[in-house]
Structure formats: C-alpha cells, structure tokens
Amino acid sequence: MADQHITLSVFRYRPGDDVDPVFQDYQVPYHDDWVVLDALNWIKESVDGTLAYRWSCRMGVCGSCGMMVNGKPLLSCAAFLRDYYPEPIRVEPLTNFPVERDLIITLDGFLEKLKSVKPWVIRDDVNGTDSEFLQTPAQLSRFKQYSMCINCMLCYAACPVVGLEPKFVGPAALALGLRYNLDSRDHGNAERQSVLGSDEGAMSCTFVGECTTVCPKNVDPAGAVQQEKVASVNDWYASVLMPWGRR
C-alpha cells in the first residue's frame, strides 16, 4: 500500500515575529490509529521543532491538549485522523481565549475564575474535626458528576457567552462551585453565592447547552448552571421575604 498522507493546516502565531497569525500546512503520514496529537508530535519531531502546543497524558484525563479541530473544540488526543481523512484538518487554539503562541492559549483568566468560586470544603466549625468526614454513597452521588472536570476548557471555547462577556465566570467554574455546594461536608453555599448568583455568575448563562455537548467527561456544566440559577432564585426570594439574618 502506498504511503498515505493527510494535510494539517495549523494556526501559527509567534509574538514579536508575527503581527497576525498565519496557517501553516504540513503533510503528515496517515495512520488509522493516530490522533491529531500524534500528528502534531510527528511535525514537532520531524519537520518543525518550533511548533508549540500543550499536551501531557495523551489519554484524555489531564485536560492539557484542548484545541479547535475543524472548528470544534476537542482534545487533540481524542481526535482520530481517520475521522477526517482524506480531507485536510484545520487545527487552531481554543476559541474565546487570547493566544500566547501557536496553539497555546492564555489561561490566567480561567484560573482566576476557578479560584473565585472557592473550590475547597468550607466548614462552620472553626477548629476543625479530629476524625475523617463520613459520607454515604448517596451523598457522594449528589456531586460526583460535577467533580469529574479535568479543566480542559473545551466548554469555554464552546460557550458564546464566554466570548461575548469576558467576565462571565463560565461553565467549568460554575460546575465546580456546584460540586462543593452539593458536597455534604461543605458549609460554604452562602459564601459562594456572591459569585455564583452574581450577574457574571450563573445568571449570565443563556442555556445554549454547547458546553455540555463538548465536555469529554460528561460533567454536564449546563445542568449545573441551571441548578445554580434555581438556587439563586431561592436565595433571592428568601433574602427579600425574610430579610432578617438566617442560620
């Protein structure tokens, strides 16, 4: 069988050298068990060592290799060349993020948003406990789905509100906030509400739902955000109808 090839058209941006990005085409050997990440690694090792991109586990658990493949946000380690062959594959950095270099996006803003929802167990008891926290399987199942996020940011690339309103906290961070709000060990709902229930929080979501569609871990961030909207409504009415201090 003759050697088969497939074209990768890759977004290149070199700060200081390029004013605007360009697309660079590479002819990559085609193997039906290769993924886009294999093709990028082949390019970097054999053809163009200057190509810059993030990756790590190559098996869909680290969340490092998110990028746009033919306009769709995917993990490059999960995008098989055979699903595109023989057509060329366009590879770009994740939408809605600034580009540092080539396929690498600036994720400072995303990390700030994650931090803003206080993603740790918040307790009422100041001095802590002597023993471990006990949790039943039923209590675990309430929040487990929302704990599966690998911070790959595909949901941010898929969400039009993230693009249109840069201050929007976003799907992954909001799902993470719900993960802790639903955790039986946590007492931090009220503390998180100032972010989750704010204009930049759950209330900015218009339930497009693409975040859930692209999530590789079935976190269902869209569902999480809607639940937070309902919780915010309850919180609002409680604060208006019962303005005296609670709990």
């Binding site: 700060p15 600034p98 309430r142 039009p160 693409e210």
Partner: protein, 128 residues
Amino acid sequence: MRKPYWREISSTWYLSSWPYRWFMVREMTSVFIGAYLVLLVMWLFRLAAGAQSFEQMLVAMRSPLSVVFHAIVLAAALYHSITWFNLTPKVMPVRIGEERLPDPLVAIGMGYLPWVVLSALVVWGVLR
C-alpha cells in the same frame, strides 16, 4: 516575550454552527409568542366589546393572512414547548436516594403529560 493575540468574536457567531443556529431559533420563538400575546389581548378587548364586534373579528380571522400568521406562531410555540420540556430535567433534576430519575421520564412527567392534560382541559372548557 508575551504579546497575546486577541481573536475577534464574529458578529454573526450564531450562524457558525447548527447548534448555535437552533439556539437562536429557540430564542426567537419569544418574538413570535410575544406578537401572538399582543393579538390575544386585542382579541379579549373585542370580546369585551360585545357579540357583534367579536363575531366580526372571527370572520375576519378566516383570511389567509391570519391563517398563515397563526400557523407560523404555532410552529414557534411548539418549538418553544418541546425545547422547554426537554430541558426541564436539567433545570430541576429529580433524585430518589442515590439515583437520578432519567431525563425523559422527568420531561414527560413534568412537561408533556401536563401539557396534554391541560390542553384537553382548555379545549373542553371552551368548546363544551
């Protein structure tokens, strides 16, 4: 050196994929439903104005323009109803113990079933 490159969001972003297009269709149903509600209010005023006024309006509503308008509005309203009921289980998940009730079950129980029952009730209430 760091010199991040900002890519612009297209002003026609909602045309760039089928999911986005269908999202915009769903949002636009509110324009059609809103228009129908305005006409419904005018319909109520005609009812209040008496039998002659109301009956004249009913006859006028046999026009092709009225029929086409209502067909379009009905399509929009149906799309709103179906998308709304299908999304309801995500807004209000129903948990029993460790398990979460399957979404289709919740959509039927909290959406489609009441829809059929209430629609039948309204038809009976008006036409009996």
